[in-house]
């Protein structure tokens, strides 16, 4: 009988957050390429998604920020699927990616507050997910219940 895996819940949370971020980024990317014409967000005062998503700062190095977000969460999702947890060396990459994502979010928050004078609620949702993802990645035990499991390839290679 296999023992209960205390790290499983944490790994599931990481995957769920990555998928949630992916969905939010996909929505913002679709809105970017359709001129943000159907963006479901308030447009009054400081909270104004359209002002943020149509600003010059919504594009970085020629690529829309929403697409950068989509790529980031797609990468994090790949790092959070069950097979990826079996490779111990990937956890360091997971942490580096999560810290990089959070640093970028703080830059975007600065841009919203000081350059654009507007806050986009959908973007804020992505920012919260990114922060939660960083904390979940830092808290999760990447080895629990994973390294103890023999790799199928190793089992096959063993004679008898």
């Amino acid at each position: 009988m296999r023992a209960a895996d205390p790290g499983l819940a944490g790994r599931r949370v990481v995957l769920a957050l990555a998928l949630l971020g992916l969905a939010l980024s996909a929505y913002l990317t679709a809105e970017h390429y359709t001129g943000s014409s159907t963006l479901a967000c308030s447009a009054s005062g400081v909270v104004d998604c359209l002002r943020v998503t149509t600003s010059p700062q919504s594009v970085l190095l020629g690529v829309p920020v929403a697409v950068w977000g989509l790529l980031y969460f797609a990468g994090m999702t790949m790092l959070a699927v069950p097979p990826a947890w079996r490779r111990a060396g990937l956890h360091r990459l997971r942490i580096v990616a999560a810290v990089t994502g959070m640093t970028f979010v703080l830059y975007l928050l600065y841009t919203e507050l000081f350059t654009l004078d507007a806050v986009c609620l959908w973007c804020t949702a992505v920012h919260v997910v990114t922060a939660a993802l960083l904390l979940a990645v830092l808290l999760v035990d990447p080895h629990s219940g994973v390294t103890a499991t023999p790799r199928p390839a190793a089992r096959q290679a063993r004679p008898g």
Partner: protein, 291 residues
């Protein structure tokens, strides 16, 4: 196997298990510490940004200044070859003809009325084409240089301003009104040019309730921007003006395409004068596209 060996092995296994448990507990403690440190850092930086934003009140919009001579020269003297190459352009829809409206004239000349505001991003986009087109029929002086409001869509779109500008032409009369600046005053923007009642009435009759509103001699109107301000995003006035000399640039295709379309309408008002403008390939192509 002796009983003593068995007890020693059991004790060794217990020690290993204890050591492994301690290692796991230490690792868990390190992870918790890292998470707490990260959460604290995020909260502190976010709070610092929010407090600073509340204290400083954010970034305002740059006030209007006199236009750079180089910018004006490039906008008002676009080479005819570029205008002809662009023709009806791309991404510009041009003025909408109106029927049944009385001819709008001043002292026997067709009158062009522009109603907009400096904070307005759509006015910011449309002004480039209006200035370019009218410059082929006359001469502007005193044009301003400004940006749309930072606190609006398409923030800080670089543009020109008609506030304080004058226009002289042998063919047309132009009256431009920037009813508000781009500077906050109370809950809105500071008032700028007083708008005469007849202009308000024109906008109410032929406009759609928004700005910019341009009435081209009672023959056609422009309601809103005929091309997207997003084309100008992140560009300075100098960059936009420079792009107008490159017929292949998206800015030239939109701005000059719209300018040619406006010129085609103006030519119907001036009886095809000046001929060099109204017979030019660019204006003819725009007139043909208008149908």
């Amino acid at each position: 196997m002796s009983h003593t060996d068995s007890r020693a092995r059991t004790a060794a296994r217990q020690r290993e298990r204890s050591a492994a448990l301690r290692a796991r507990q230490q690792a868990a403690r390190r992870r918790r510490l890292a998470a707490v440190a990260a959460a604290t850092t995020i909260v502190v930086i976010t709070a610092a940004l929010l407090v600073t934003r509340m204290i400083t009140g954010g970034q305002g919009t740059a006030a209007t200044t006199g236009a750079e001579p180089g910018v004006i020269a490039e906008v008002t003297h676009v080479p005819a070859t570029v205008l002809d190459a662009v023709g009806a352009g791309q991404g510009a829809s041009g003025p909408t003809p109106i029927t049944g409206a009385p001819a709008l004239t001043t002292a026997g000349k067709p009158r062009i009325v522009y109603l907009g505001a400096e904070y307005c991003p759509y006015c910011a986009a449309e002004r480039w084409a209006v200035v370019q087109a009218l410059s082929r029929f006359g001469t502007f002086s005193g044009l301003g240089q400004t940006r749309s409001a930072a606190a609006d869509v398409y923030p800080n779109t670089a543009t020109l301003s008609f506030h304080g500008a004058t226009y002289s032409s042998a063919y047309l009369v132009f009256d431009g009104y920037e009813q508000q600046s781009n500077q906050r005053a109370g809950g809105s923007y500071a008032p700028l040019d007083p708008v005469p009642a007849d202009v308000t009435q024109l906008a109410g009759t032929y406009g759609q309730g928004g700005i910019p509103f341009v009435d081209l001699g009672g023959a056609a109107v422009i309601n809103g921007a005929d091309y997207s301000p997003s084309l100008l995003a992140g560009k300075s006035q100098a960059q936009i003006a420079a792009a107008l000399s490159d017929a292949s640039s998206p800015i030239a295709k939109a701005v000059l395409g719209e300018a040619n379309r406006i010129s085609a309408t103006l030519c119907t008002l001036t009886g095809g004068q000046p001929g060099a403008v109204c017979r030019s390939a660019g204006v003819q192509a725009a007139a043909h596209a208008r149908g």
